[in-house]
Symmetry: C2
Subunit: 394 residues, 2 copies
């Protein structure tokens, strides 16, 4: 057994989160793609079966009240809240991330007010944010400018209405300075919208603490909600009365069953709701979130950094020098919970890794992505992944 391999065993033995692995359905595969689709929490299948067979099949329409379907978006939002540092009553679950980006950006422009007619968007963003930002700009009479997060402070002006930022870059895994950028954007009189897809559930976000106004995120990565599970929208409590949604569906009405012709928005987080909530997916997510009982996000962060540190160390030790280049920052304060390695044949390499039971993913044109989900990935997994990677790269 090599030194790294022995250390992996010791680290797993000392890992206070190691017991959480049994809360997931896993096999012999090293699953490093939880930053794309989280593994199945063991409690989900039974819950989904109950939702389908009893709540839908037997209670049918009565479940909207009796099984708590109607209030699920706010209730599950409150379950996500502590993971992203939010007090209750500020998060609502529903729709896709793209749709929530649209709600948040348009609302941000409206909050920023007259005379502000420019939206800044992270030029390195996951594409959908940029596409949606373009539509939000077009529909609010704003211009759109793509800048890197580092360029944001210099790009802010009296014209800036909203800034759409990623907490962690989907490709490189770079973690951005949410507290600093939030304060800078606010000082310029603009409103920041944070996309938390690649940070929520992997590291502390501190939405309330850092005075974030608006944020969105998906739930199928580190929150393990299942394929395409509904996204969420955070609106800071102090801003909710000014949240003016571009998608004012009947679920956000103050009296949804009043069937009133005039729209009057509800107060609170549920102002971010739109149409009828997608119950099957939403309640699967609710069951999935139970794995977080008793888990501190600080402990998750500590393990996440230890895992990515260890992976980088194993890669440095095993992989021939110069064969791959890490595009993930070395500094902890700039690293999310994934490691991205560039190599020209990344697509082929990832195919071979997957065949050998090491599952990451490939992002065009040349990036191997490895996501480290501290609730179910251990150090022995990490060492094995690096070893197999090195064998395939030789």
């Amino acid at each position: 057994m090599s030194g790294l391999s022995a250390r992996a065993v010791t680290s797993d033995a000392d890992d206070p989160l190691a017991g959480k692995r049994s809360a997931f359905v896993l096999d012999d595969v090293v699953y490093l793609d939880g930053n794309s689709l989280g593994a199945l929490p063991a409690g989900v299948p039974g819950r989904v079966e109950d939702v389908v067979r009893r709540q839908w099949g037997e209670l049918r329409i009565r479940s909207w009240e009796e099984s708590g379907w109607w209030t699920a978006p706010e209730r599950i939002g409150d379950r996500i809240a502590p993971l992203v540092g939010a007090a209750p009553g500020q998060i609502v679950v529903g729709d896709s991330t793209s749709v929530n980006v649209f709600k948040a950006l348009v609302a941000a422009v409206r909050i920023a007010g007259d005379g502000r007619d420019e939206i800044l968007v992270d030029a390195t963003t996951f594409p959908t944010d940029g596409y949606i930002a373009e539509s939000a700009a077009r529909m609010t009479g704003c211009s759109l400018r793509a800048v890197t997060p580092a360029e944001v402070p210099g790009a802010l002006s009296g014209r800036t209405a909203a800034v759409l930022l990623n907490h962690v870059d989907y490709r490189t895994g770079r973690l951005y300075d949410l507290p600093g950028l939030t304060a800078t954007v606010r000082a310029a009189g603009a409103v920041a919208v944070w996309d938390l897809c690649h940070s929520a559930g992997a590291l502390p976000v501190g939405l309330d603490e850092h005075g974030v106004d608006l944020a969105v995120g998906c739930t199928y990565k580190y929150l393990n909600g299942g394929p395409g599970s509904p996204a969420y929208l955070y609106v800071r409590a102090g801003l909710q009365d000014r949240f003016d949604s571009p998608l004012p569906g009947w679920n956000s009405h103050v009296e949804p069953f009043g069937m009133r012709g005039a729209y009057e928005p509800a107060s609170g987080a549920l102002r971010g709701r739109v149409g009828t909530p997608d119950i099957l997916s939403m309640l699967a997510l609710e069951a999935a979130l139970e794995v977080w009982d008793g888990v501190s996000i600080e402990a998750v962060r500590e393990k996440s950094l230890a895992l990515t540190d260890f992976f980088l160390e194993c890669v440095a030790e095993y992989v021939p020098r110069g064969r791959v280049e890490s595009v993930t920052p070395v500094a902890h304060e700039e690293r999310g919970s994934q490691v991205a390695l560039r190599c020209p044949d990344a697509g082929d390499v990832m195919k071979r890794l997957i065949e050998r039971g090491v599952v990451g993913d490939f992002r065009a044109p040349d990036v191997l992505r490895f996501g480290f989900t501290p609730l179910y990935v251990g150090f022995v997994d990490v060492e094995r992944a690096a070893r197999v990677l090195a064998e395939e790269l030789r």
Copy 2:
């Protein structure tokens, strides 16, 4: 046995769709709320279990390709297509009805082109359509005018960009003249958007035959997709190249995994996609749609009219005269698949009906709604519902 009761037994025996009842999970309740939430098709629980345990739990990320997750929105759209008279390649499933109304209305205004700056909306519509229409108008620089469907021909002008119409009124069950109104709107140079929530799966729609441009609908009523199951969007093939979505998420990109900065829409129905599809709910819907195998929508319509005719006849026979007033049209060509009865104490009456195993619903302020889903409601059910209603109204 009364005459009506005996006739019910005979009608059930002669019903060519009677065998379909066993394709659903039902009990002794007379379920007349399938126009709100369809009953559970028997094939759904097993399918959902496979999606959760095997596709998600074992294959995980591989299922996006291997289990056909990625292409589900178009594939399931094609499964809905014959039920609404559409050729393949024009329907995509995803998002809520409200979100799809927004996409369709904004796209309609853009198709109508410059100089047209008014949206007409059905004044009697389910509220969400009106709220969303107001937002679409605000965001496209249009004014919004609420008119009854009968007033539409007179309200059309050179200013009209789009008209949002309901095929069947959610409250009264009135069926509107889709072919005639579509032609009238088109002749005025405007674009009609049809909301099919209360007609799809209950009667022939004939989207292609009648030259409909844009339509949306939910899948949890007569299509039995489950609580909050994803909605769908129909864009006529000849119009798809001009469909300019206000929600251009990465799923509608010509090359979604190209991670390209510039948005270039895909061609075809999938231009209506937005974000990551909600797989659990979507594949439950796909399983639910299998109950339609071998069913002609014309046969469904024939039975639907027979059921509502029979219900009205039983009500007239059993219920004390003047105790309720039907707001559902008598003429077949103006009737959907529900009967709405007004009485001042409708809320209380419906509570008592539900306690006695006759499940309809109440719509404020004074409407008892009874939905008749021909795949699983029989004539004996109908007679029992009317009899219990009469007892409670005496």
